[in-house]
Symmetry: C2
Subunit: 297 residues, 2 copies
């Protein structure tokens, strides 16, 4: 199998990860990706110096399209693992827990560290997990208002953080009534997390903006991917970045970004998983998917 | 009554109107305003050289708070009209028709040109009306997908333009089903208009982005006001600008802006209503409400 792999140093990976482009609301159309599972393949631009690479970072979404593995991807990743390389699955997808990603990897033939579920979970670096890590590291002990999916809720629960907001929250009245009596805000909320949310609506945006109006409220976005154009003709699926743009605009604040291409996810890999990017033996491969979430410009 | 009015030239009004700040998604918290009806009062910064002003531009939202006129506002505006000044009510509010604004003016004691409804309507410059004007001037003959309120729909109907999208449009299925079979796009849609929409949700955003994915699709935003902070403690009401930011992000395009502070609304006043801002006799007063929608920086 020709992987088209070449040569890359960990510094290049670092540049990808920590490129400093924390948000992308500019006019350039983003690269085509697929909803919920980012699609790509291991391409000639995915490069590695295998003999010196001791850590391999790649992405869950690179490897499958919905429930179908992309041809050759599992074989390639398993080969890296067989060579003794540490494989990480790094994804901006906030809708699943790490456990669900492990199950998906196994189902599609990707060899995670089998029979040791805790170890296997360590190979998954998802934005829902890293959001929970970030809040835990802050010593956060209030409630989180989630504009997002169940994956965030479950990862927060795993570290003992209370939450609310997941699921449909329809507008059942007019704006005047909403403002004067019907809007229920929880005084225990101390953070807002914005991820992918199929049930995103005006009311959720209003609640998020109201909570973040308190400058002490922590404000987190899982990622800023703008859209997920489909193979289906002319259908565009908005990404988390579109929801984040809406909430940031009415919040009058910028959210702290967890996922690629923010610096946080890079720090998390280095600090939590002993990827010593400056050490000669610590070289790593980064297999990017989309230009917008991995670029270093 | 002391209006605190001073001296301003029409060039200054022009700078306010055409300041070139078409969008405002930056981090600065916007000035406090009120939902649906922008609140302010005629302040010392609202200045006019009465003897040479032949056209007076001001705003509906400056004058009332919901259904209550702000003290002295009607008296001041009526005095200007009595002095022979032409009064325009300029508003970014896209939720009402001009006819509804005329009715509101009359109810609250503002003297529009009574008993001549058509003439009175000419005194109202709302973003829903100007959106219809803009599309009519383009010779637009397809359908408009509206992310917005009934005011836009009615103004489009008044110029014979077909539309769809107003009202609730709940998400009734999962994303996969939505993409594969349930998303209904109308091939006759040739424009997307984004205004204030209490029923804004992920599905509307998805439809708007899918329509605007066609580069021939006209893409209009009524205005970009970010939020409407309330008197009520800690409640923030998102403005149209937050909805626009979401749609622009997934659309990968910028919308053409109709309302303040875009250049279009200035051109419309000058061209449609004979405000000759460079003519010595054509001086006008601009009574601004919020900093963010009227500034010239």
């Amino acid at each position: 199998m020709d992987l088209g792999i070449g040569k890359v140093e960990i510094e290049e990976v670092h540049r990808y990860l920590c490129g400093g482009r924390g948000e992308n609301h500019e006019g350039n159309p983003p690269s085509p990706v697929h909803p919920t599972e980012i699609r790509t393949s291991i391409s000639p631009s995915s490069v590695v110096e295998l003999n010196t690479t001791s850590a391999l970072a790649t992405e869950a979404g690179v490897l499958w399209l919905y429930d179908h593995g992309i041809e050759g991807s599992a074989e390639a990743l398993n080969r890296f693992q067989h060579l003794g390389k540490k494989v990480f699955y790094v994804t901006n997808n906030s809708t699943k827990t790490r456990d669900e990603f492990v199950a998906k990897c196994e189902k599609l033939g990707f060899n995670t560290t089998k029979a040791q579920r805790d170890v296997a979970q360590d190979e998954i670096l998802s934005t829902s997990y890293l959001t929970a890590c970030y809040l835990k590291d802050l010593g956060f002990n209030k409630k989180v208002f989630i504009v997002g999916s169940i994956g965030i809720a479950k990862e927060l629960e795993a570290v003992g953080i209370r939450h609310l907001g997941v699921g449909p929250d329809p507008v059942l009245t007019d704006l005047g009534s909403l403002v004067s009596q019907d809007l229920k805000l929880d005084p225990e909320v101390g953070a807002v997390v914005v991820g992918f949310d199929l049930h995103f609506n005006f009311l959720k945006m209003m609640k998020a903006a109201s909570y973040t109006n308190n400058p002490d409220c922590v404000f987190i976005a899982t990622n800023t991917d703008e859209r997920f154009p489909m193979d289906a003709a002319n259908i565009v699926v908005p990404g988390t970045g579109s929801i984040v743009a809406a909430v940031e605009t009415c919040a009058g604040r910028r959210a702290f970004k967890i996922g690629k291409p923010s610096a946080y996810i890079c720090d998390a890999i280095m600090k939590r998983h002993q990827v010593q990017y400056r050490h000669p033996s610590g070289k790593a491969l980064w297999v990017p998917d989309t230009f917008s979430s991995n670029r270093g410009d």
